[in-house]
Amino acid sequence: MRRFLVLAVVALLAFSVVPAAVAQEDDTVTIRVGNTQDWETLNPTWGYLVSEWEVWNNQYEGLTTRDENLEIAPGLAESWDGSDDGLTYTYTLRDGLTWSDGEPITADDVVWTIETSKEQEWENYVYFTQYLTVTALDERTVQVTSSIPTPQLPDMGFIILPKHIWEPLGDADGVASHDGTDGVGSGPFVLAPDGFQDQQAVTMVANPNWYGWEGEEPPVDQIIFRHFENSDAMVAALESGEIDAAHNVPAAAVENLESNEDIEVVIGYQGTIEEIAVNGGAGPAQPHPALLDVEVRRAMGHAIDKQALIEDLWYGHAQEGVTFLPSVDRKWMPEFTDEEKFNFDPDLANQMLDEGGYLDSDGDGIREMPDGTNPIVIRHLVNTNEALAAQYGDLLVGWMGAIGIGVELEAMDSDQLGTAIIEGNYDTFAWGWTPGVDPDGMLSSFIADEIEGWNDANWVDERYDELYLQQIEELDEDTRIEQVHEMMKIFHEGATYISVLETPEIQAYRTDGFEGWVRQPAEDGPIMYSTTSPSYAALQPVGGGGGDDGGVNWLLIGGVAAVAVVAGVFVATRRRGTADERE
């Protein structure tokens, strides 16, 4: 046994030293970013994971982009002019643009991308391009016309693809089955040759042709995105310096990381919420009849201690919300007064239920309907795919119990839950949303047409729908903001989202690695995995150096060699010993 132990120790030491010899020192400035999601595809026409968007945000540009305040900013187009009716815009491309492989970027690429996306119904494009027609006026000028008036123009943020790479792929199937590893892009970094392998990392290299470098040497040569299946391991890698930054840091690790002076934690908000939703009763199946009374739903809202949710589930790193956020951009969210919010007040909640006639007539601790029948016991669906959903459920049981409402918990995975919601077959559930920049996407989820679709509140309101149709065509932004504010108030009064937390992206970076991180939105947003991820092109290595040392430790290698020799001799003598014993 002893010789195995010796061998094991030798192996352990040998393996641990080899890498030092392997890591060749070169001048490549590399930033390593950890993430807990892998990549299914790098095809931007249909991929949808956040990890994939982070790659495309670096590799590609649209005609326009968003700055750190989420304002529309020049992308491939340096300028644009709109007609008075807001239907037609003319974009002028920057001079001398080229793809990373040296081919020129022309109006032809823009026309091909928009027209083909419509024709082949690319999932990530049709919503934006279905009403657009586009013509190339010359090499650098394109005219875009929308068949409906839309306030979303002049935003043309979707990715323009290199025609010379994508056109040869042929029809819709050919385009969809492309894995997106061609590495030809227009952004600051593009996928390295063989940069996407084995689902464990994506390597991107600086695109020398990107207009933003303005002919200067890119300060960062390479970005490596690393996938960690386990977020604790990712945090450990950040602490040990194996990575320079991490996305999706668990809330439980924040306190520990904050005590490390080489690490800065970023709590970034970009409109993500977690809600407890009550069935509004507009779906095919009906909730408990008590929930059809909006006063009961409001009372339930007053019974939920959001501060406790924040402390218990988010270690304090989340904030109280009012209702869903229509956009990453705060300007679309109205101010709510204290009276309008469902502040934690169980006494008020009990009083509201008493006044509504929902009394506990048989003294079992559960209220009944005003006619004394049908105890109010609700079915709360727990999403087993969400890490915190089970705790949400347990806490809800306690809070509802305090106001005489019983709760039965039912566990489902997110598919089953989605189906139950569409059918209206639930009383409450906890889930979340992340909005885009334009409020239309979120707002459209709660119109009557989306019952049995995205309307997970199963709630309808005529005035809301009317305003929805107005704002979708309103070209004056101030007027549109007023309309959206009114919609938000109406939705909130409907009390289907009775508890809302605004939850952050928790990220962290090493302060000894790179500086110049950009938050988006600027005041409290995340530094990575944001709307357009502007950080990477702005980063500079701290002190101008590459950072990692990979020197060969000859002393250790010598030591290991010595141990190996000794072990070899030991094993050999043992062998001889046993040979002597043979008969």
């Binding site: 010899a21 299946e229 598919d415 995205w454």
Partner: protein
């Protein structure tokens, strides 16, 4: 088996596409087109017949999540899994058996007690916990090994350096799995050795004046090791199924990770493909162990 494979994942009524498109701005027509492209708009019976037909023509379909051929997806992950689980299966078989021999032959000594109890502990400890512990000690505190992954990301090393890098990444997860599997072999070997030790032919062997080691190696072991062949064959069958927990702790891109990902869709074609491969490998290795038995054990005669 094909039936179980198909219906097992459909017991729960779910719509993979609803999950895929939640919160995205995609027109309904596009989602419907995709649904019919995946064949999800067909009745379950039709889907099943289609599945049987395609499986027999060795077409496993296209993964919903990556839209690549399921077969290609699986094949690309096989090397990682075989390297990890295969290495640990072999090492645990060797060291576990050796430990069992020592423990059995020297039963009730301190050697027996320490080997038996330590392998029992390792066997009972959850793999992910052991893995996390190794990660914290050897990778984080001591910094001897990388924290997960299969290669140093972005390294362009080739040849020996590349292999060394790979082995260095493989070490901790393989060590974790080896230790976790050790107990089985030790206990089986020990008890089967104890069984033979009371046999008359061993007394005869000793009476011939043979050395203790000779008695053990030439007479006791060949008989005692038969159950180990079965155990090893069964474990080899599970190599492809990967090690979901350990692959997760060390971000090892094997079939275990693929299975965990496919479950969150659910990605039916991928799950079906994975489980088909898993069951095929188990059946194959059971067959191999039966055949081996014929050669190793004269009592099992060829019919």
């Amino acid at each position: 088996m094909l039936c179980v494979n198909f219906f097992l994942f459909r017991v729960v009524e779910t719509d993979p596409l609803a999950n895929m498109f939640r919160g995205r701005q995609v027109p309904d027509e596009v989602i419907d087109r995709l649904r019919s492209q995946f064949g999800l708009d067909q009745p379950l019976g039709t889907q099943f017949l289609l599945y049987l037909k395609e499986t027999f023509s060795l077409n496993m379909g296209v993964s919903y999540r990556s839209r690549n051929e399921v077969w290609d997806e699986i094949v690309s992950r096989i090397p990682a899994t075989v390297a990890l689980v295969g290495t640990s299966a072999v090492f645990s078989a060797i060291f576990g058996t050796l430990g069992g021999i020592v423990a059995g032959w020297r039963r009730n000594t301190w050697k027996d007690h320490s080997i038996t109890s330590s392998t029992m502990v390792l066997y009972s400890v959850p793999e992910f916990w052991l893995g996390m512990l190794f990660l914290l000690v050897f990778a984080v505190s001591l910094g001897w090994f990388p924290i997960g992954g299969m290669y140093t990301a972005g390294s362009n090393a080739t040849g020996i350096a590349h292999i060394a890098d790979y082995l260095r990444h493989l070490f901790l997860p393989a060590l974790t799995l080896t230790l976790a599997y050790l107990g089985e072999y030790t206990l089986v070997t020990r008890s089967s050795l104890l069984e033979v030790m009371n046999e008359d032919y061993l007394t005869v062997a000793r009476a011939k004046g043979l050395r203790d080691l000779k008695v053990r190696n030439a007479h006791a072991l060949p008989n005692a090791l038969l159950p180990i062949v079965t155990l090893a064959a069964i474990n080899l069958g599970y190599i492809l199924s990967g090690a979901i927990a350990v692959e997760a702790v060390f971000s090892w891109p094997g079939l275990g990770q693929a299975t965990a990902n496919a479950l969150q869709g659910p990605d039916f074609p991928m799950l079906q493909g994975l489980f088909l491969v898993f069951s095929a490998s188990i059946i194959f290795f059971n067959f191999v162990s039966d055949v081996l038995y014929v050669y190793l054990d004269p009592r099992v005669e060829e019919v």
